[in-house]
Amino acid sequence: MNDLLYNNSNIYLFVAVFMLFCGIAGLVYRRTLIGMLVSMELIMNGAGLNLVAINRFISPENPYGVAFTLIIMGIAAAESAIALSIIIIIAKRYQHIEGGDMKELKY
């Protein structure tokens, strides 16, 4: 049973790392705030997949990885709601949503 492909933890961890670095590349590459938010969701999904894979393969007697992935989902929902309302206000005020041009609070 152990030689089946989906009973190997490396593939799950590789997919999680791939999603993490796709998210980081998107945070650097995207210019608009909504694109950055989509990349943030990718990073959180990679973290959740990593937690569940570790929970299933390393310590299958505790359900903490699955529980914390559910908590991550709640945090992601709250974060995206707040971020999208802020983005809409920024779009009303500045008439664009490009992250590089907002530097009033920078100095």
């Binding site: 492909l5 650097v28 393969f57 903490y64 989902m73 929902a77 206000i89 779009a91």
Partner: protein, 167 residues
């Protein structure tokens, strides 16, 4: 290759292709569709990890709530980006690619050397276990999540109310 393995490889391919589409698509609507595809792929991987409740919650929360929220934001904002796409970002893209590839190679070697997974049979995360752990050991994070959601709802309402005046 059995049929389960081929479905598993399909889920992995959907996840990785969705992630690439979400990052490198030129239109933001295609990026959102790539994000939805990646969510569905991750839900399939959760099913292969014996966590079916988590897969259902993934589809319900991410695809049903967050992606619809992003779609409404895109529809409300419209074509608000000043310059659609320019080539100054090309250097950034190359840098991010190089970082990503080097890091994936590094972490892949680390994973291959350190974590030879042993799949112990009998791991099945039921809602009974999850309910027990949420009402027994993790009661404080559970309550804090509900508090966080209430604060987020009130904050979103207050932001939209306060921004109506200075339009």
């Amino acid at each position: 290759m059995s049929i389960g393995e081929s479905i598993f490889l399909f889920a992995v391919a959907v996840t990785m292709g969705g992630a690439l589409t979400a990052v490198f698509a030129s239109s933001i609507v295609y990026a959102m569709l790539g994000l939805i595809a990646a969510m569905f792929g991750v839900a399939g991987l959760y099913i292969y990890l014996n966590s079916t409740f988590l897969a259902m919650m993934q589809i319900l929360i991410y695809v049903g709530a967050i992606s619809i929220l992003i779609a409404f934001a895109i529809m409300l904002l419209g074509p608000y980006s000043k310059k659609y796409r320019d080539f100054r970002a090309f250097g950034k893209l190359m840098a991010a690619f190089a970082t990503a590839i080097v890091s994936v190679l590094m972490f892949g070697r680390f994973i291959l050397e350190n974590l030879q997974g042993d799949a112990r049979a009998g791991f099945a995360m039921t809602t009974k276990d999850l309910g027990r752990v949420f009402t027994d050991k993790l009661i404080l994070p559970f309550e804090l999540i509900s508090l966080l959601l209430v604060v987020a709802i009130i904050g979103a309402v207050m932001l939209s109310l306060n921004s109506r005046g200075d339009k």
